[in-house]
Symmetry: C2
Subunit: 106 residues, 2 copies
Amino acid sequence: MDIQLKRGLLDVCVLAAIKSKDSYGYQIMKDMKPYLELSESTLYTILKRLETANLLTVRTVEHGGRLRKYYHITGAGLKRIEDFKDEWREILSIYRFVTKGDDGNE
Amino acid sequence: MDIQLKRGLLDVCVLAAIKSKDSYGYQIMKDMKPYLELSESTLYTILKRLETANLLTVRTVEHGGRLRKYYHITGAGLKRIEDFKDEWREILSIYRFVTKGDDGNE
DNA sequence: AGCGAATACTTCGCGATATGATGTATATCG
DNA sequence: CGATATACATCATATCGCGAAGTATTCGCT
C-alpha cells in the first residue's frame, strides 16, 4: 500500500485494534497485520502519540517476567473512530471522482 | 478532512483532475475543491513532484498575456490511478476492520 | 547446556511532504 | 486607481513512517 495513504489510516486502525478490549504493542501488531503492516518502531511511536493526544491510556503490567504496556481507548479515542466514519463519506466521494469516466467493470 | 488521510489521496486526485483532458494549476484547484481542498503551494509542489516521477508532462502556453502550464497525464500516471483502484480493496478491508462490531446503522 | 526464535519495548536519524507566508506579474471590473 | 481574480514559484517549518540498532526475557529444540 502507498505510504502516504497508509499514514491516514494508521491511527484509526490502531485505535480500532484496542477498541473492544485493551491490548499491548506486540498483540496489536499481530492483529493489524492482515489489514495493514507496520514496523515496530512505527507502532510504538503511534502509541506514544495517541497517548499524548489522550486518545488512549496506558498501564504497565508484569507478565511472565516481561513488562507489558496495556493500552485502553478513551472517549476521545472512540470519537476519533466516529470522526473517521464521517470522513469516510468524503473518501467515497473522492473515490468516485478518481474513477469517474471509467467502465463499470471495476 | 484529516491531514494524514488527505496525503494519500492528493496525488491520485490531481492525476484524476487531468485524466480526461489536459488542465493547468488554477483550474485543477477549482475542479478539486468540491472533493478535496488544498493550498496553492501544495498543488504546485505536487505537480512538480508528479512531473519528476513522470506521471505527467508539462507544456507552457501563453494565454491572455499570462503563462499557463498545461499538464498532461502519462501512461505511468494512468497506471497510478489503476494502482489506486487495487489499493481501494485494501482500504475497504481496513474500513471494515475499523467499524467492526458497530451497529449496522452506519 | 547451548542457541536461535519469539516476545516486548525504546531511541535515533533520515527522507518525504503539506502548508503558511511571501513574492512576482498581468487582466478585469467598478 | 484599487480590489479581485488569474497564475505560478520558493522557503522554512512541523509532522511522521521506518530502518537500524539496542536491551531483556522466555521457550522450544537438539
